[in-house]
Point group: C2
Amino acid sequence: MSSMGTPANIFWQECSVGKSDRQKLLKQKGCVVWITGLSGSGKSTLACTLGRELHGRGNLAYILDGDNLRHGLNKDLGFKAEDRAENIRRVGEVAKLFADAGLICIASLISPYRRDRDACRALLPDSSFIEVFMNMPLELCESRDPKGLYKLAREGKIKGFTGIDDPYEPPLNCEIELSPDNGVCPSPCTMAGQVATYLEEKGFLHDE
Amino acid sequence: MSSMGTPANIFWQECSVGKSDRQKLLKQKGCVVWITGLSGSGKSTLACTLGRELHGRGNLAYILDGDNLRHGLNKDLGFKAEDRAENIRRVGEVAKLFADAGLICIASLISPYRRDRDACRALLPDSSFIEVFMNMPLELCESRDPKGLYKLAREGKIKGFTGIDDPYEPPLNCEIELSPDNGVCPSPCTMAGQVATYLEEKGFLHDE
């Protein structure tokens, strides 16, 4: 048992089973796949398809969906600026725990601001935060409008909606960017395959 | 994709890989082992020893330590009553996610109030919340005082310290109670073995 000193009276408990032991058990390396993009850009669909793909390969993945977490961990948070930042911070902290547990944690959130995403990246060890940017045109996302939210935003019934009256800041340094090819959006399977190939090549899907 | 209706504009994303699929992959069943008791009662030591025991059996466990989380997810929280309740609520919500991911999640927190622990229990599916009560006499905990906190509390330098000037409410319905036998405290290995045996007998360490 050792003390970190800050904050006062809170001690850091070290345990003898560590991340590397869990990774050996799981035969994979813990990491965070952070999917960012506009509402309707296909984040949740990619998360699910990637989850299936990884499970099919025998890897343990877990999805943290921004909307789902608002029913539980983040149910005390609303949509004003500081609540949105806190929402993302908490998901980042939980994603860090899952990666430490050895899982491939797939986080799916609009997370429109660069500073919030970069703060989550900073929580993770080197190169284990994989930012996936769903770079889909607003027109495409709005034409899909799977939850009817763009319509409400256009009618002024939702304020501060990303892409309409609140900005989306595209990543400057994301690991993977997914976008339409000659105006055609790749299928979820194609995109999930691209992310899985990245994880495979970077060694996350094995323990050696 | 289906709507739950509450809160407005937040949808619930269902995925085709579910808890039972992850449990098959891991060959175990997700659950939460919630260790409660006074400071110095041996919660963290039991958590670590149990973690080692389960890892040795090839099971995937992950420890959520109340103090450790105050450096990350809960670093915005202090020690006033509502912050303590929120601290426990968040650990309960995260523990629920880990159990849903298929892990044996070991949560170690003083969690002195029955209502807070019962709220966490209510988050988990039937019988997958296993409350472990470290029923150690205050005198024993205070004589150990591994973090020097009882001394500070007795000197009045920490206010609202559980067992000194704030109550600990013992569980009424815990699954496992650990206490000294004829005045002798069982070893961490003995106690961890008792919890592991419980998990084994209840079927959590296998997928069938």
